[in-house]
Amino acid sequence: MSKRSCQCNGEHSRMFSFISGPGFSRRQFFRIAGTGVSGYYFARVLRPIDVLAQAKVPTVGTAKNCVFVFLAGAPSHVDTFDYKEDADVMRPPAVNGQPLNLMPETYGGIKISRTLLPNLSDLLGEIVVVRSVLSKALAHELAQTWAQIGRSPTGALGNVSPNIGAVVALEMESRRKASDVLPGFVALNSINLVGSGYISSKYAPFQVSPAPTGLAGLAHPDGPSRFDSRWGLIRDLDSPLRIDSPLGKSVDDMGEFYKSALTLMGSQEVKQAFQYSTEETTRYSPPPLGNQRAGQSVFGGACIVARNLLAANKGTRFITITLGGWDMHSNIYAGNNSLLTLAPSLDYGLANLIKDLQSKPSPETPGKTLFDDTLIVVQGEFGRTPGYNGQGGRDHFLRQFSLFAGGGTAGGQVIGQTDRTGNRVIDFGWHSNRDIRNEDIFATIYSALGIDYTTVRYDDPIGRGFEYVPMAKDGVYEPVTEVFKPQLPARSRRVI
């Protein structure tokens, strides 16, 4: 690379000694123009090496969208999707004076509690249940971050790694149309949300806590006409500083952010996507238990908004929905926040999301549905102990489950089988014959979306290379391809 290909007038006699690699490329200047001023901005300027390396692996590419349902706090697997009835898996015989009847039913290779998950019990034909997943950490924050970035947060680039949603938004950027006004990555009801890390904040999650009335931050508190005169004034007074700013390139992106904000605020479709009715919320919510009010599920509301965003087809490609409260160290079946309330919340929200997506046609592929276009992934940060602790709850446990649905996956199968207490694996259920890790799940998601999961980006701050899936190009982690093709014979399912 010639050292003379920089943009200055060439008068200086030697290239200044700050580049520790190949020389500048003109292309790099234009590529990074407009990013904010930060250490990373400069690091990108000063390290213009080839950005991408890929092993060019085949990908499945059947999904256009992904909904990642994150069960924060770590759900008990032995009570939900790896249901166990062994004597060592303890449960109270009664709750609040009533005998506890979880109505476990068996469908082929899987047992599931109809009390806890009534709707999903009938939708097993659409879901892939993966039971041989193993977390690597038992601390909530660490494992939650791990589940969002697909690598150890304490490892290299851990604290600048983007959320998988941000990477997907970046990858899908080239497919955005002029009418795509919604952010590529939306996060609903998030806890401990990882953002865009070192990549551009253009792909940062658009964070929302949905409410029936719609998106609060989109409406100006003093009304639309007041807002219009204010916005006119801002443009009038500030355009000398926003366009070709005398303060330099670094403020140019401010204009872009305000433009996008205004677009979101002005779009009727965006407004409608975030609004929903109480009738819909009731459908997406479990019936009240005890003194609870009906139709109040916050998770249900988030599922409705996710459905609306995908149906609008205006550029949102990755939605993460968080349902927290699973950290049941005490009274896992009793109390106000127990499995008896939380599991049905998950059930009613997720099942209705699946059914509604199935009823909507794919915007792009005739004959397919929005469910075919959308990969749904459901998991927490780890599992819970089969035995009780002293307070009638379950503690942290590495063994966990993961669910896949839609997006070209072959529903109606279970991958992996654990022993009688949901601890060790009897059958891993996939070709690599080992525990499935977050990294493998990430490879599966990327493959479903048609993204090369062996991609390494060399635009990170230290130039080490950010791998979409660590060590994927060496085959250490890979997609669980079995989720895309049926493994076991179809089993009986109850038809409603």
């Binding site: 520790s20 964070q207 931050g217 409406a219 007074l237």
Partner: protein, 640 residues
């Protein structure tokens, strides 16, 4: 508003418009406050730092005259700015301008006085200057007024708030993290220790020594929390020692985490020559300095799951044993079973001499001694502070020094270059810092008093990214989350209230910059969401970022934190008082609003536009709109 003048009016006569001769105005009978040192024939000069403002006492009469003069000047051919050498204020400028002169790089002019006063206020205190301060400064004829302002600001409690926030980021001082949840009492003890140390300008080497060697009950002894913060539960104790070694490495600008799991060779070859030669054993030897640290938790007697604090002490025995197969790191095995690694100071391999200068030295006090006397400690610290003030370090990334490519005399292999973009400057700053007893206020003051720090954002001619490492202009940066909240509070004069956890906060604090960490105020989700939109990070696995976002735009446009504060119904607010004072002319209202919000006077064009918008008679809602618009302006959101 200063009592001497009825109104202050500025004629901005920058590069594009030309200059108004003061004498011409005087001859025309326009009463002005003549600044000392303004020479006649100013139109001949290309630039005259700090003397570009004129003060007139009757704006209605002079407005037309000045407008006519400006129009006349702007129709003339703009003078090409000539290459000039500004006054070199200190040794920093000798290096910076020397490099630019050698390589023929043009540089920006010195910033104007009103830009300067806002910038230096933000960089020292995280707040903007009040209108009175701005006007007094603009009126101040003293040649050393900039230096005097810097010195006075460094002595304020707000300085201690803002730079404690900086140190808090460096130490990752936070209540809840992936490592550990500190009890609020412990977190507050830690924060108060930092705040007191910064406030009394404790020498930085002494400060770091106290952190590394801190003992006692963490809920009472602030420095003991340095160790507690890195305690790694659910794993072998060596994981904790490793965390502490990495934290110690941060003081040296070294990222040691890479070699905590594997040797450098085969991993860092393309990134860091020095680390490539280091092994995992070297890292363990560094971690061994912490291997005699006792950390005994004591729990709440009513809730066994809740750890109230730790007792930190130094054991007389113990060591770093290579016998782990679980935890956060790959297995630790030695050549012999249960091999013990002796402490060795990683940067230069010095063994720990148990009978060194002080026979009673513990492992930790030896590390503190070696680390703080290491020249690299001075280099890393001055680089962190430089980066904080300029947005770009002399070495980038600031926590990734390559010790083999730092010294000016280093032998650099083929294909590599010196890591620092200004190697001689880095050395000079480090030596100066050491010679001044690691005095942080002195360091910050020295940097701010340089002409380099005081350069404008506006660049003459076409800017090229090749000029970035020369620091040829100021790089504007977005205000931090805490600054945005506090500056909105100041500009609107509607107080805010933040309630952090813990008994130290029996009353809430009124400024976001006084929050003890970046996840407070825990009980106020709306405020947390507003602050988090500006990417203050969590001091754990998500660092602070100065990037923008759509959410920030939406926050400044629609969040009630902004929209409630600009209402005239708040009688003591800026707009409330401007509205209530019926003696003010529209020009005065506009000017005061500019001063209160943007810390500067409006340009002629801005004054015209704003007065037009306000209408006659001025309506309350238009006044509110005006301050709302200012809060969404680039020159509000950015430090420029």
């Amino acid at each position: 508003m200063s009592a001497r003048l009825k109104i202050v009016f500025v004629a901005i006569a920058g590069a594009t418009l030309g200059w108004i001769s003061v004498d011409a105005l005087l001859r025309a009978g326009v009463p002005t406050t003549k600044r000392e040192g303004v020479s006649p024939g100013v139109a001949d000069c290309t630039f005259f730092p700090g003397h570009e403002h004129l003060y007139v006492s009757n704006p209605t009469k002079e407005l037309n005259f000045i407008a006519a003069k400006l129009k006349e000047a702007s129709s003339a051919v703009p003078q090409r700015r000539s290459f000039f050498a500004p006054v070199q204020k200190n040794f920093i400028d000798a290096h910076i301008f020397g490099a630019m002169a050698r390589d023929g790089v043009a540089f920006a002019d010195l910033t104007t006085d009103s830009e300067f006063v806002r910038r230096v206020y933000l960089d020292t205190t995280g707040r903007i200057p009040s209108p009175d301060v701005v006007l007094n400064f603009l009126n101040d004829p003293a040649a050393d007024r900039r230096e005097a302002m810097i010195d006075s600001l460094l002595d304020t409690p707000e300085y201690a708030d803002r730079w404690s926030n900086f140190i808090g980021d460096q130490l990752q001082l936070v209540l809840n993290s992936t490592q550990i949840n500190l009890d609020p009492e412990a977190r507050n003890a830690y924060y108060n220790f930092v705040r007191a140390s910064i406030g009394q300008n404790k020498p930085y080497d002494q400060f770091v020594t106290e952190l590394i060697t801190g003992t006692g009950n963490t809920t009472e002894e602030g420095p003991a929390n340095f160790v507690a913060r890195w305690r790694q539960p659910n794993g072998p104790i060596q994981d904790t020692y490793d965390n502490l070694a990495a934290a110690a490495g941060q003081f040296l600008g070294l990222s040691l985490n890479c070699i905590s799991c594997h040797d450098g060779a085969g991993h860092t070859n393309a990134l860091n020559l020095y680390l490539t030669k280091r092994t995992r054993y070297d890292f363990w030897a560094m971690a061994a300095f912490f291997s005699r640290t006792a950390m005994n938790p004591y729990r709440d007697p009513k809730d066994n799951n809740r750890i109230l604090g730790f007792m930190i002490a130094d054991n007389r025995t113990g060591g770093y044993i290579l016998n782990t197969t679980s935890g956060n790191k790959t297995a630790r095995n030695g050549t012999a079973p249960n091999e013990v690694v002796m402490p060795k100071y990683l940067p230069d391999g010095s063994p720990f001499d148990a009978y060194g200068p002080n026979p009673a030295e513990t492992y930790r006090s030896a590390l503190a001694r070696m680390l703080t006397s290491d020249h690299q400690f001075a280099r890393a610290t001055v680089n962190y502070v430089w980066k904080e003030l300029f947005g770009l370090g002399i070495v980038e990334p600031a926590d990734n020094f390559d010790l083999d490519r730092i010294s000016i005399e280093a032998k650099i292999p083929e294909g590599w270059l010196l890591q620092a973009n200004q190697p001689e400057l880095l050395e000079a700053l480090a030596i100066d810092f050491e010679q001044h007893n690691y005095d942080l206020k002195y360091l910050i003051g020295t940097i701010m008093k340089s002409a380099t720090y005081q350069l404008s954002c506006s660049y003459p001619g076409a800017w090229s990214d090749a000029h970035i490492p020369y620091f040829a202009r100021k790089f504007p940066r977005r205000l931090k989350a805490e600054e945005i909240a506090d500056v909105i509070t100041q500009a609107t004069n509607v107080p805010a209230s933040y309630q952090p956890r813990g008994s130290a906060y029996s009353k809430p604090v009124n400024w976001a910059m006084q929050l003890p960490d970046t996840i407070e105020p825990l009980g106020n989700l709306q405020m947390r969401t507003f602050l988090d939109a500006f990417l203050r990070g969590n001091r754990d696995d998500r660092s602070r970022s100065s990037e923008g976002s759509i959410l920030q735009a939406l926050a400044l446009l629609n969040n009630s934190f902004v929209t409630t504060r600009i209402k005239v119904s708040n009688v003591n607010s800026t707009v409330g008082k401007l509205w209530a004072n019926k003696d003010l002319t529209p020009a005065e209202r506009v000017t005061r609003l500019y001063l209160a919000t943007l810390s500067r006077l409006p340009s002629l064009e801005e004054l015209d536009k704003s007065i037009l918008y306000l209408g006659d008679p001025v309506s309350a809602s238009k006044l509110e709109d005006l301050q709302f618009a200012f809060i969404n302006k680039v020159d509000f959101i950015f430090n420029y």
